[in-house]
């Protein structure tokens, strides 16, 4: 494999990681602050993608669609939080899993009811089509945009949490819920806000990825599983852990898919190697998770240790 191809695959891994980070950061934020396991996070990703495709179809502007996708998911997040999630904070994790699982079913069927069960059309805007040359590597412009958006979101979250008053309350909420309530902070508004931010990030990820992949019912669940792997690896509740975990998963998965089949070709015939290699590659991130948990049972960067 040439150096250019290796670099391109590395970029692909980073881009995949950034996409996972957008999902995982919301998930881990919601868990860290509210102690809530939200299985419906993937559904918010789907809602974002559908709203984005719909608005882009009407207005013809992908940028408006992107904004609407993130806002739509945030609004859906607020509705869900007020109606259902709010009642779950004091409950057991298994109750939360059951209730948010029900939300997956309701949101999927609801989306199919509103938009139909056929995949929607959403495409990359023409300015971002095509590729540019970075040294010896030719790389699609749109994927570079995704990387940039991910870096900006990471930076934004860092500033929000470490430098603003709301961030201070979020950190305080993570450490001691009763105390921050006793100090006069309206905890339920804070929770709704955090949930909306997480939902908006999921909606943004869904919109960005929807243009690249396909917008269809059930698109969120495979991503949700990967996002859980990311936060378990990174340490549950930690944004920094989510960032590192997402990069690890993205790069390991991408390079595994490329390298393993060619590795097996050294001593197997090509079609058997392709089949064995790709089967093993799809297990790789779960092996990674198992190894990391064996060494560091709380993940790489456990929150409030």
């Amino acid at each position: 494999m040439t150096l250019a191809l290796t670099l391109e695959q590395l970029l692909n891994g980073i881009q995949f990681g950034v996409m996972l980070f957008l999902m995982a950061s919301g998930l881990t934020l919601i868990f860290g602050v509210m102690g809530l396991i939200n299985l419906a996070h993937g559904s918010l990703y789907m809602v974002g993608a559908f709203v984005c495709a719909y608005v882009t179809g009407i207005t013809g502007s992908f940028w408006l669609g992107l904004l609407a996708g993130a806002l739509g998911a945030a609004i859906m997040g607020v509705i869900v939080e007020v109606l259902v999630i709010r009642r779950l904070y004091q409950r057991d994790h298994l109750d939360q899993v059951l209730a948010t699982f029900a939300l997956i079913l309701i949101l999927s069927e609801g989306t199919a009811l509103v938009f139909g069960s056929q995949p929607l059309w959403l495409d990359i805007p023409s300015v971002l089509k095509g590729s540019i040359e970075l040294g010896s590597v030719v790389y699609p412009v749109y994927r570079i945009l995704i990387i940039i958006v991910g870096v900006l979101v990471a930076l934004g979250l860092y500033l929000l949490i470490s430098r603003t008053r709301i961030g201070m309350k979020i950190r305080a909420g993570e450490n001691d819920r009763e105390m921050i309530g006793a100090l006069g902070v309206n905890i339920s508004v804070l929770y709704t806000f955090v949930f909306a931010v997480g939902a908006a990030l999921a909606g943004l990820a869904g919109s960005l990825v929807g243009a690249l992949q396909s917008v269809e019912v059930g698109m969120g669940e495979p991503v949700l599983i990967l996002a859980f792997v990311v936060i378990v690896i990174g340490g549950i509740g930690s944004i920094k852990g989510a960032l590192i975990g997402a990069m690890l998963v993205g790069i390991v998965d991408t390079l595994g898919r490329v390298l393993l089949p060619s590795f097996f070709q050294w001593f197997m015939e090509p079609s058997a190697a392709a089949s064995v290699g790709s089967a093993l590659a799809s297990m790789l991130i779960y092996l990674l998770m198992a190894i990391i948990l064996a060494i560091k049972p709380k993940g790489l960067f456990p929150a409030n240790d």
């Binding site: 299985l39 199919a112 495409d123 396909s214 669940e221 949700l224 549950i236 079609s271 392709a274 948990l293």
Partner: protein, 392 residues
């Protein structure tokens, strides 16, 4: 505490993955009673969840034919939600409780393998409007089983043949790592020979950056892929913006009219193989496409044509014999005495079609959606490779 949480999270992830599978259940019933003591047909097909547009089109094509013929049929339609266990229990219910004469409708090969063998052994006729697993064409063929669509390998074989005839030498081929995917690449290579590069992707994979980079770095002169449903939509969009100019080929499954609507103009120029095209020039097809558009306000896909042909085959056989007279009805089906929208149509000894496979090209449509245009014949009178293994 943290250990428990990790346990719960892992459980949650498993539950979520099951969620994707358990998502849809239920079904509904549509009875169409026109006269007394009609022939009863059970249709088990996929009407909800991923890939439901295939089942919906098979159903709509089938019902259109029965309505146009104003036939004395009762069709009981059930939704299998793409799950083998649901399909199997629906089949038992239709055969034992509703006592149907004929069963049809299944889209997916894994569901067909669960339902078809016990059904036909029990003496009920099964006519497949879509799935054509190799086992049912070869060793496990049965006198009561008819496939009206194609054997699974057919469209891929035809594309291998066509690309070779076009003078292409180094195709890069990819398919998901599951039985129909390996069959696809086997079928392709059986006619083409060795490929320049070969990749099996994860089933359900949506990001193809790594594969596209490998295609770019290879010496390939063309790309052949079999990625049904949402996978194909994702691949085509990403391939189009990658800047690679190699021509793309594939079976019709990734380029039906509904998928083209979601892919958009990225697919323009792609050649695909199909046993049918909506612009195929014959009177039966003209009548079908016109009636389908008038009734459902969309262009039919190949799945709709398969449903329509299946219904017309049944209707032609009912005219000759009653399904209760099994031997007479079977030979009426074998004679395939109906006007297929594919033009010429006949069964081989294993009850699978011997038919032309055509090449279509995706061109810009008059709306924002691109569409397929018939450009030629890939291979004439193709018979499946498994017929010699069938004892019939």
């Amino acid at each position: 505490m943290k250990k428990i949480v990790i346990g719960v999270v892992v459980t949650a992830a498993i539950v979520a993955s099951v969620a994707a599978l358990v998502m849809k259940g239920g079904g509904y019933k549509l009875t169409d009673v026109l006269n007394e003591s009609p022939t009863k047909i059970g249709m088990i097909t996929t009407l909800s969840g991923g890939g439901s547009h295939l089942g919906i089109d098979v159903r709509d094509g089938f019902m259109l034919a029965t309505e146009m013929a104003n036939a004395n049929l009762e069709v009981i339609i059930r939704d299998d939600a793409r799950k083998p266990d649901i399909a199997k229990s629906l089949a038992n219910e239709l055969i034992q409780k509703d006592k149907v004469d004929i069963l049809t409708g299944i889209i997916w090969s894994n569901l067909a393998m669960a339902v078809v063998p016990p059904t036909v052994r029990g003496g009920t006729f099964y006519l497949s409007p879509n799935a054509g697993p190799s086992a049912l064409a070869g060793k496990a063929c049965h006198e009561n089983y008819f496939n009206v669509a194609w054997q699974n390998n057919n469209l891929h074989e035809a594309m291998g043949h066509f690309m070779k005839a076009e003078g292409l030498q180094k195709p890069f081929i990819l398919a998901p790592n599951y039985p129909a995917g390996t069959d696809a690449l086997t079928g392709f290579k059986s006619r083409f020979g060795k490929a320049e590069g070969e990749i099996f992707t994860k089933l359900g994979q949506k990001d193809y950056a790594a594969e596209i980079a490998q295609i770019r770095a290879s010496n390939a002169d063309s790309v052949f892929f079999f990625l049904p449903g949402g996978m194909g939509i994702a691949f085509m969009k990403q391939y189009a913006s990658s800047g690679i100019e190699l021509p793309v080929f594939g079976p019709a499954f990734s380029f039906d009219e509904i998928i083209l609507g979601a892919v958009g103009n990225s697919a323009i120029g792609v050649k695909n193989t199909s046993q049918w095209a909506y612009d195929l020039d014959n009177p039966a097809n003209e009548k079908f496409v016109k009636a389908f558009r008038a009734k459902y306000d969309r262009t039919p896909t190949l799945y709709a044509s398969q449903g329509y042909d299946t219904a017309n085959l049944i209707l032609s056989a009912i005219k000759k014999a009653s399904p209760s007279d099994k031997d007479a009805f079977r030979s009426a089906l074998e004679s395939a005495d109906f006007d297929s929208v594919r033009g010429s149509f006949k069964f081989g000894s294993n009850h699978h079609p011997i038919q032309n496979i055509y090449v279509r090209e995706v061109v810009a449509g008059n709306g924002k959606k691109p569409t397929n245009k018939l450009v030629g014949v890939a291979i004439s009178d193709l018979q499946d490779a498994y017929v010699s293994q069938c004892a019939l």
